[in-house]
Amino acid sequence: MEGRLANSWRLTVNDKNFIKTALLSEIRIDGRKPFEYRKISIKFGREDGSSEVQLGQTRVMGMVTAQLVQPYRDRPKEGILSIFTEFSPMADPSFEPGRPGELAVELGHIVDRGLRESRAVDTESLCILAGKFVWAIRIDLHILDNGGNLVDAANIAALAALLTFRRPECSLGGEDGQEVIVHPPEIREPLPLTVHHLPIAISFGFFSNESILVIDPIHNEEAVMGGRMTTTVNANGDICAIQKSGGEGVPQRVIMQCLQLATSKAASITKQIKDAVEVFNTERALQKIKRQPTSTGDDVREKQNL
């Protein structure tokens, strides 16, 4: 809430009125139509499992890491998936360093629920030795710039990072077959995670009494809107999660309309993510082939030194 409050005092009365009146004639301040999504650009870092997503002005960085840990008692055969959010004060002056704000917690929960409750990531394949060793996958989401609709951007960043993440291959060895050997990436090619489907979060903003609905609100609209709802759906049209936190009530009819819109958007966003991952994967494969010439280059240099 503090994020939204801090946003609203910087917003002038003029802007608030303008956003509302313009929406009455279906005009949004960045020139979009009410049901138009902003342009998404997905970039990947040099390392596996890092992504940077730009949604209009919003920028989110996702980073996936893995660690071998002991599983939870009640689920000895399942890997662990956890999500951490980091709201940098550079992204928005209203984000305080240190203690995570309400928005940070909510964002983490929405992304977490979308991924975990829908069993998008196969956690059973992360088990190495039941009750002893499983992989704990950690997703870090860093908000780099707040241009509104952080949830959707963070969710895409998390998915893109998960899809490009590779965990080292493991095998059991030792005398009793209970020892875990982690193979370095040079010896055995690291393995990708099993991701069954991509739950895409799509946020909607609701504006006062006129029951105006917009998709993908920007930060100025977020400061003005009366309520928001995030629906997490996948390209098959399955509903993975719905988050409606406070604000105005929404009639059932509108929720159904949102879900329909979300399903069609989810399909196009899924395609964008998959395309971006594909491009990254082919590039990575090409780089692996090129590794040979660089080593000969070193040899040449050494000869010159001699």
Partner: protein, 240 residues
């Protein structure tokens, strides 16, 4: 340092300077009054730069350093757009995108007396002038020009305010008129107020026009003059 002081001051105008550069030497400019704008400070006879940017000179005697940033450093005689954050007995607190809140004395209006103190709701947008900008003090603002007239200063009604960099807002105010405004003005009629603190207010009869103008200005930041005109034409075609 030696050779910089010996070089003629005019040589630094319109060239890039970095913090610490001594751009003017007052001992060689006797019997002159000069006005210092943003980014310059005086140490005895030496005027040195405090930030990186281009040194500008405007006739007859004003010098300042131009650079582009998201935050605004207040400077005397700048015209800015501020947002009312709070009102106290003596001052309105104004957000000016700077390091400190600006103080607008409640009497700093044309014919302002204790009896007719204006009431501003939190979030009101004001067109203001910076009167004092000293270190360690909150900048003092005013809604009058130097002679005490209201001029164009005061609250702005309706319209839409958006944020730009300080560099872009200076470009919008430059003369000859910035190409993006020139191109927009040929086809559309709108009102505009540009604050040097990187805020721009636009008003027009229809919300369409406001959105087009606002987006055209925001897009123009990194474009050359010719590109700006092409971009505006393209935007205008889309709405017709």
């Amino acid at each position: 340092m030696e050779n910089k002081q010996s070089s003629s001051p005019a040589s630094f105008v319109d060239s890039t300077v970095v913090p610490g550069d001594v751009v003017l030497d007052l001992s060689s400019m006797t019997n002159q009054t000069i006005k210092l704008g943003g980014g310059l400070r005086q140490d005895c006879d030496a005027i040195s730069a405090m930030k990186a940017g281009t040194l500008r000179f405007s006739k007859p005697n004003k010098y300042w350093i131009e650079s582009s940033q998201k935050r605004y450093v207040p400077c005397v005689e700048d015209t800015i757009l501020g947002i009312v954050v709070d009102s106290k007995a003596d001052n309105f607190l104004i957000d000016i995108k700077g390091p400190a809140m600006g103080f607008l004395p409640v009497l700093a209006f044309e014919g302002g007396t204790r009896r007719n103190i204006p009431k501003f709701e939190v979030g009101t947008l004001l067109y203001l002038r910076v009167v004092k900008a000293n270190f360690g003090m909150n900048p003092e603002l005013s809604c009058t020009d130097a002679s005490g007239k209201a001029a164009e200063f005061g609250p702005l009604k309706d319209g839409y305010m958006f944020e730009t960099s300080t560099g872009l807002s200076r470009k919008l105010l430059s003369s000859p008129t910035c190409p993006v405004l020139e191109a927009l003005g040929k086809k559309l009629s709108f009102e505009i107020a540009v604050g040097l603190n990187g805020r721009v207010w636009v008003n027009a009869a229809s919300p369409d026009t406001i959105v087009v103008v606002a987006n055209a200005i925001m897009n123009s930041e990194s474009l050359s003059g010719a590109q700006q005109i092409i971009m505006v034409d393209h935007l205008l075609q889309n709405i017709q």
